[in-house]
Amino acid sequence: MSNTITVRDALRDAMAEEMRLDPDVFLLGEEVAQYNGAYKVSQGMLDEFGPNRVVDSPITEHGFAGLGVGAAFTGLKPIIEFMTFNFAMQAIDQIINSAAKTLYMSGGQISCPIVFRGPNGAAMRVGAQHSQCYASWYAHCPGLKVVSPYDAISAKGLLKAAIRDPNPVVFLENEMMYGEHFPIPEQWDEIVELGKAAVVRQGSDVTVVSYSFMVGKCLQAAEQLAAEGIDVEVIDLRTLRPLDKDTIIQSVRKTNRLVSVEEGWTVAGIGSEIAAIAMEEAFDDLDAPVVRVTGADAPMPYAANLVSLTIPRVDQIVDAIKQVTYKS
């Protein structure tokens, strides 16, 4: 496994590297220091950087998010970890009203170079209050950048870019991805530019766009369909705000078919936006209506059998692809 890296370690390395380079970067959140992170993402960072730069906070999301934003107003570059983004709802006023809007309200005077990060969406059967996907909420709001990585290598490059970005960045991780290993390529981009999607699998028959955890399921679906002769192009959106329309539209011009896949709820989700964009910018290129594959429109249940019905499965993605290619 020496040529692989987990998403967890990639995220840690991104933070640690940026903290070595820039003394203004610090990490603050619940259990990030002595505990090395509730999900061990900040493993070893307290030891390396000490308690002034790796700060354990009390359970006061609203207050410590506001504290981070205030520090960022002065030019520091806080990384604020939410143990999960569910708890960021307590702090969302500071994220939207203070972090996202102040550059504008100050006519460009006060920037807010902050990263809010932590796991988003479902984990392993943790119930309705710990499983929400906030991608579309944040993507809705101007003044933010919103990132949600899939693989370890891009996660690292994206997080480094997010930390260097002079704007508030909401960085949506996924708990079930932390332990996933990804091969370390010979060469890779140390910084992955925000706002750019990646074609992670080339194909000519249909375009599937997704982000985070679901990209893996899409790739699996693509493999499965390759055997059946359907050539699937998979796009990892990576950044959800600003959305890389160009990459999506370019692909749709080629494949004429589009499926969006996300674990979040249906209504006004990222998939809705993708469908609307395709409508606006590629209506005449579409040979079939865009299909949205989304999480079930229900709070997350606990029972194992019900959970398996909520988050999109590979077979659902396969079905959706067949539907738009009229192979079903």
């Binding site: 009390p58 006061t60 059967r125 119930g127 710990h130 606990y302 194992a304 019905l309």
Partner: protein, 341 residues
Amino acid sequence: MKARANKEQMDRDYHIGTIDPKKVPVEELLKYYRDMLLIRRFEEKSGQVYGMGKIAGFCHLYIGQEAVVVGMQSALTPEDTVITAYRDHGHMLACGMDPKGVMAELMGKATGYSKGKGGSMHMFSREKNFFGGHGIVGANVSLGTGIGFAHKYRNSKAVSVTYYGDGAGNQGQVYESFNMAALWKLPVIYVLENNKYSMGTSVERHAAMPDQLYNRGSVFGIPGHVVDGMDILAVKAAADMAVKYVRDGNGPIILEMKTYRYRGHSMSDPAKYRSKEEVESVKEAADPIQHLLAMLQLHKVTEDDLKQIDKEIKEIVNQSVEFSDASPEPDPSELYTDICI
């Protein structure tokens, strides 16, 4: 002067007494023993069943804190309500909820209190006036304040018992709730279960003035008391006073229970932030069940009586697992029920 006299009067009317274990009827002590032992054994079993993969997600055990809920419950009447956070199995059992339904919920079965849709952190019982079971730290404090508001709105004499942890006690909505509860004299007993840790963060590291948690309502005029949460009778004495104080219309009160959790924060926490010795020393010096056993020694209780109880409890717990094992998962159609009425 008037305020002073008032205060003296209050101190006289509402002080926490000491209960002499010798004067407590043995049946009462045995009931506490049963109730606490049920929680202990139930939680131990939950841990095992979790280890077998039959329980998933977060699962927060209550072992070590049993005297708190059992003592509090001893002072309540059926119309009183209880609400807590996610470390809730003990509260549910103390409220009289069926161990079968609790275990079935833990195992995600249709026969669980939430039909398998809630899990460890989200169970409720209208019948037993148990209002959950909440996963967001601090949220249950506002909710419990609202339940108190409802009691008052209805001119009921019921009391809202609202549990929260030492870590939760830093959440802003707790103070928002204190202010409203005090302003409107709501019938709420805030029970702060100070088990010394907020996940891996010790109370000294998460709270300014960590020895003053009981006092954090004082600036809103809410009296606070420190209680030995490892001593069932100390808890009972405090609970009796608090219930009387609140029922008399004096508004809210805070009881800080000094207690300790023996296990990790949740099943996935190896608890490296404290030493084995620390845990062992509490277990030895202050275990609430051992403490109660010592009191029982003052009465005529035989080893056999106790063994019989142990056996019964074990049976109840085993049956809860058998029941759950035999229960079906919820029907797939349940995914889309109970979203809206």
